[in-house]
């Protein structure tokens, strides 16, 4: 047993931590939040330049790492600074799916992703699908020119920045069937595809995507027709690991801010950290964050396992992270008092971002139920 980072990962972590610390000052956060893209293209370029995006892909895929522990390491660091870069969408989901299912022509996009020059988004969830991975109503109908896409995709994170979308659509079967789902890699500018863009709480952009007679050629098909479910599940497992690791980083940042505040804020002539009730609550927060860390390690170690094993860990970790995230958000605001509710103070950004973690890739309740189905019942 060894919980230390390898030398390579240690170097990656050191380099990344330095870069992010210099890039994400409190002011940068504001600039980024107010930019058109919801992230800073300058920071994105510097992340690509230091090889960060490549760390999310295996050598075979054109990267240099790509294991669960690499994903976790990178996203934890991103979380620690409250980074808003669309790494999960462009790289883990988008790049990951193309690397796993794409033909040679399509795989050229992975290189661009790693180089930082292309952005992607996965248009999978629909207005009523909630977190149900097999719920796909959007249809892909064959015609002489390829396929026609029709349907609606909901809260497609990073779609407004994406050059290409990966659209899931049904080529066979019923709404909730696992079989019959196909993926299409299509330019966002395709005729018949319209986006309604909006900012997301905690940073980044998303869009409601309407597909109305969107004509794509057969070359757009990503992977075999009707058999995309497993690839989607794998991509979601990896994205869940990434967002859980990011949540861990956010929690650490929040913990540090709160500890600092307890030491410096004075009421009744003493630092509020002298009040035992706050001491105990801070202790609970700290111990739950250690639980969160272990949960992320568990998932990182099993994300590439067979689906039956992997998914038990996906659900255990996402459930635990969701529960702890809520506690960390609510306790940190409470212990700060009024200042914890202001947009200007750093904590605001971190708690918003951490709150949103429970609204992607399955929430606490969804994963509780899935864990029951996989491991308890």
């Amino acid at each position: 047993m060894n919980f230390d980072l390898t030398d390579e990962r240690q170097m990656l972590q050191d380099g990344l931590r330095r870069l992010l610390r210099d890039s994400y000052t409190a002011d940068a956060q504001k600039i980024i939040a107010e930019s058109d893209t919801g992230y800073s293209p300058k920071i994105w370029d510097s992340l690509a330049e230091m090889g960060l995006i490549g760390a999310l892909f295996t050598e075979k895929q054109g990267g240099f790492a790509g294991a669960g522990f690499d994903l976790a390491l990178v996203h934890e660091e991103m979380g620690r600074v409250g980074a808003v870069d669309p790494l999960i969408d462009t790289a883990v989901l988008g790049g990951g799916l193309i690397a796993a299912c794409g033909n040679d022509a399509q795989k050229a996009l992975v290189e661009e992703v790693i180089a930082g020059t292309a952005h992607l988004a996965l248009a999978h969830g629909e207005p009523t699908s909630r977190f149900d991975l097999s719920h796909v109503q959007t249809s892909a109908t064959r015609n002489n020119d390829g396929y026609v896409l029709d349907g609606r995709k909901a809260v497609v994170v990073n779609a407004p920045n994406a050059d290409h979308l990966i659209v899931s659509a049904r080529t066979a079967g019923d709404v909730a069937d696992r079989d019959g789902i196909s993926l299409f890699l299509v330019p966002t500018a395709t005729k018949g595809i319209t986006l309604r863009s909006y900012p997301v709480v905690g940073g980044g952009l998303a869009a409601e995507v309407t597909l109305d007679q969107g004509q794509v050629d057969t070359g757009a098909l990503l992977g075999p027709e009707g058999a995309a479910f497993d690839a989607l599940a794998t991509a979601h497992a990896r994205a869940t690991l990434a967002i859980c690791a990011e949540a861990l980083g956010l929690m650490e940042a929040i913990r540090d801010l709160t500890i600092d505040y307890l030491k410096t804020r004075k009421q009744f002539g003493v630092p509020i950290g002298k009040f035992q009730v706050l001491q105990h609550r801070m202790a609970d927060v700290a111990l739950e964050i250690e639980q969160a860390r272990s949960a992320v390690i568990n998932l990182a170690g099993h994300v590439d396992a067979v689906p039956q094993v992997r998914d038990v860990h996906v659900s255990a970790t996402k459930n635990l992270i969701g529960t702890v995230a809520r506690q960390v958000v609510e306790e940190s605001i409470q212990m700060h008092g009024g200042i914890g509710l202001t947009a200007e103070y750093e904590l605001g950004h971190f708690v918003k971002r951490l709150t949103m973690v429970d609204h992607r890739f399955g929430d606490t309740m969804y994963h509780l139920e899935r864990f029951i189905a996989l491991a308890v019942a």
Binding site: T128, F131, P199, E208, Q334, T342, A343
Partner: protein, 398 residues
């Protein structure tokens, strides 16, 4: 023991209901139900309607133009208003300042200010908290120094709710540094248009601007604007705090929130059926509803005691804690209920005059903002930690 309202109380409830049906503009109740921000004009419009009926000062005695209602009637009134999604009655002038002026104000102050509160001539804000004086309010430092027939006020207040609308502030200031900090505080009525006052908005994490910082730079306040005696302001402020306790549990808000949550959970689908049929989610709703049912009765017990003339004990602190925890849990569940549609940042769409269609279902737009914003419930009005300290002091006889 009888859990039912008396026939008189029921008749009163029906009367309130009839009034709401006839007089509450749908435009306003729609806004409240949809979680949209209310403008100053919205509040003023509603106050005028209620005042027309003679019910605006529900906690004032008749001699000052109030209703003279007992605690049970006030409760019924507030409860019906919340259920009907009426805008809340803005508390600063009516619930907070009014009783203080009635008890401690001069005859001139009563004659001048009380009718102006009823008629909506003044919008009051509460100037207690300062950057360095939150829970430890008595450590406040904004100073008022006598200069002839005026005080000269210097310092800063913060968290001033709706101060951007206010033309008047009731304010705690330091008039003496001798003795205990509580003994050097005075209660001033300050005209916000006096030169030297600057109001700056504080944006909260939901994107809304409901609170402000207020800066005082050599602001002249007539001595006549002091309520009661110099250095006795703490007593008046505490009187105000014990009297702003009738609706402390927020039962009406919790009921409205729960109804809204159930509506969302009916409309949302989970695994091919309404979310409300999901046993895990239904169990969470049930737990909070069970808690709320018991709290409503605790609330009525305290109200009955108050109506019988007993001073509230630590029960009001218990209600504050329970009430806020229940409301916050309802907000958290609403966020869970809308799933991914909690993510769109909707602040803009909730502003007056916005034509933006909501991104997801209309009920989804306000939930994240409300969840974040309502963390304030356990912070202001005496944080839940301070309330627990009050309870433990009382029961452990510390």
């Amino acid at each position: 023991m009888d859990l039912n309202y008396t026939p008189e109380q029921r008749a009163f409830r029906d009367e309130v209901n009839g009034f709401l049906k006839a007089e509450l503009p749908t435009r306003l109740s729609d806004k409240v139900r949809q979680g949209k921000s209310l403008t100053k004009q919205d509040h003023e419009e509603w106050h005028a309607i209620v005042n027309q009926r003679g019910w605006l000062a529900s906690n004032w005695p008749v001699e000052f133009g109030g209703t003279g209602w007992d605690a049970v009637q006030r409760h019924i009134f507030e409860d019906e208003l919340t259920r009907a999604y009426a805008p809340r009655i803005v508390p600063f002038g009516l619930a907070m300042l009014g009783p203080v002026l009635q008890k401690f104000g001069s005859r001139e102050q009563q004659d001048y200010y009380l009718p102006r509160i009823l008629n909506g001539d003044d919008w009051w804000c509460q100037g207690y908290s300062e950057p360095g004086a939150g829970s430890d309010l008595a450590s406040l430092r904004t100073s008022a120094v006598r200069d002839g027939d005026h005080y000269i006020v210097n310092g800063q207040k913060t968290w001033t709710t709706l101060g951007q609308h206010a033309n008047m502030m009731f304010c705690l200031v330091r008039t003496s540094k001798e003795g205990k900090p509580q003994e050097g505080i005075s209660f001033l009525l300050i005209d916000m248009t006096t030169p030297g006052i600057e109001v700056r908005p504080i944006v909260l994490i939901d994107g809304g601007a409901e609170v402000n910082e207020v800066f005082f730079d050599n602001v002249k306040v007539p001595l006549a604007n002091r309520v009661g005696e110099e250095n006795k302001g703490w007593t008046y402020a505490k009187y105000l705090l014990t009297h702003e306790r009738t609706n402390i549990a927020g039962v009406g808000f919790a009921n409205a929130g729960l109804a809204n949550l159930k509506r969302i959970a009916q409309a949302e689908q989970s695994g091919g059926r309404p979310l409300i049929e999901n046993p895990h989610f239904a169990a969470r709703i049930a737990r909070v509803e069970i808690d709320l049912m018991a709290m409503s009765t605790t609330n009525l017990r305290v109200i009955s005691q108050a109506a019988a003339g007993q001073a509230p004990g630590p029960e009001s602190s218990m209600l504050k804690i329970k009430g806020t925890v229940i409301r916050q849990e309802i907000n958290a569940m609403a966020r869970t209920a809308v799933g991914p549609y909690a993510m769109p940042f909707a602040s803009e769409g909730l502003e007056e005059g916005s034509n933006l269609e909501p991104v997801g279902p209309d009920y989804a737009a306000p939930v994240t903002g409300q969840y974040l914003n309502n963390r304030k419930l356990s912070i202001y009005g005496g944080s839940n930690e301070i309330q627990r300290a009050i309870i433990s002091k009382a029961i452990l006889e510390l």
